[in-house]
Amino acid sequence: MTLRTEPVVVNVGPHHPSTHGVFRMKLTFDGENIIDAEPVIGYLHRGTEKLAEERQYTQVITLTDRLDYVSSMTNNQAYVLSCERLVGIEPPARGKYLRVIAAELQRVASHLIGVGFFLQELGVFGGTALMYAFRERERILDMFEMLCGARITLSYMRIGGVLQDAPEEFWPSLRSFLDDMPGYADEMQALVFESEIVRARAIGVAPVSAEDAVAASFTGPILRASGVAWDWRKAAPYDVYDQVEFEVPTCEGGDNYDRFWVRMQEVRQSLRIIEQCCAQIEPGPVRATMAMLFRPPPGEAYVPIEAPKGELGFYLVSDGSIAPYRCHVRSPSFMSLTLFREMLVGWKLADAIVTLGSLDFNMGEVDR
């Protein structure tokens, strides 16, 4: 006897805890198998690009915090680098080092969130695995509080350097974090990446080939998981990334498991970069003399950086006034959703949720 089935359209979201914000998936099922998938975005649109057009260059820094709200530091960095290219100003060396230290700490925090929510979405450990990741992230947020007085909406970087020098108590705190974090990463890896259940559910699920990933403008960990060693920190070093040594971890498979393996390896590389910066940093000014209100010469600038989620850049057009004429955000999370249908079709509902977790996108950045 054959069962007569018909496709069923199921809306997952916009308010679904696993969708990283308000993201709606229109999934068409045949039984439990996905036969069509459509992403619906726009629920978190706040018009950041338009708001930036009527604010002074310095004020826009506060808007960039709210794009990818789990990695505000790199958003700040991308914006101020574009502004500095526009104005033609060079920050002092200590400011650059502080920026790289802060940005790499932010990368560790963002990847911890990514790994934690991936496990949350696997449903393997309930909330425990997420809390493992949050425990380490909490220490990074404490360090950010010492640097700039805030934990999430940082606004630490300024055009021409950083806001202010790190306080004395920042350095011992960073030291103890650098000593502890490799052990935590080992523990996480032993607990999660060698777990049989995680391996059974993540290996080979929703693979993306290198050609597809490049064609879909994937950047960041999800591109490197497909085997393409592309990293803006190597390709066009900004700040002091040309002064430090690090590797770009890559994988071959491009499946969910590889995407997370790459993220854990990047955490270790970030710690390596911070170690070198701590050794190289010297006393000095942290901020170039720069007015809060300024008029850059007419022109345009785009400086891509390697944000935790991929290539992030602010395309700024100046008409010589106090506010940007146009501010376009090239956000990695938006591009990560390009292959949404191709990745999900053929897999089951449970795999769809896990795949979304492995893409590690952030709706604040997708909708802007």
Binding site: T58, Q59, V60, M131, A150, S155, E196, M292
Partner: protein, 197 residues
Amino acid sequence: MYGAGILRGLGVTLRNLARRPFTIQYPEERVPQHPRFRGQEFTWYEQRCTGCASCAKYCPLGIIRIVTDPDGGNEQDGGSYKVDVFDIDQARCMYCGLCVEACPYDALHMGSGFEAATLRREDLVINVDMLKAREKRPSTWFRPQLERAKADPHHGDPVEWREAGREPFPWHPKRPAQTPEEMDHRASADGSYRSER
């Protein structure tokens, strides 16, 4: 075939049973805050403020409203305006600190609180009387002089206005009071200049 992994997982559970809990029971106990924490309870020193409204100008959201009394100070001699209205709408404030960064006379400082819940939206607006009456416990955010003096908004003493700035004196000291008769002309309330003679 999954037996070994489950046993290993239970081993991790057993090991963590002995660990100290990392969570903090928030309303009863609190995470220690750094003195640089930027939060509510803006601290404003009337004696340092010249009424220049730089804070209002650099606020990205435009939520600071300042009205100065044109007759309250001798603006043409480099004195300060008398601030009549200083409203900060904390309901819309995002505590970015640009107003504090913009203040050239170190008159406005960030505070340290973060629990803003009120029953009515209007209660979130701070006015000039509240700012005057408030205990002066400034955050050390963007104030290196307070950091050097080891000021702490939580455990330290209130900071007096002379200690709060980069210089112990206001940058634009007031000159001896002048009567309108002594001056050639002064600004009228609508902003135009008129001669007194």
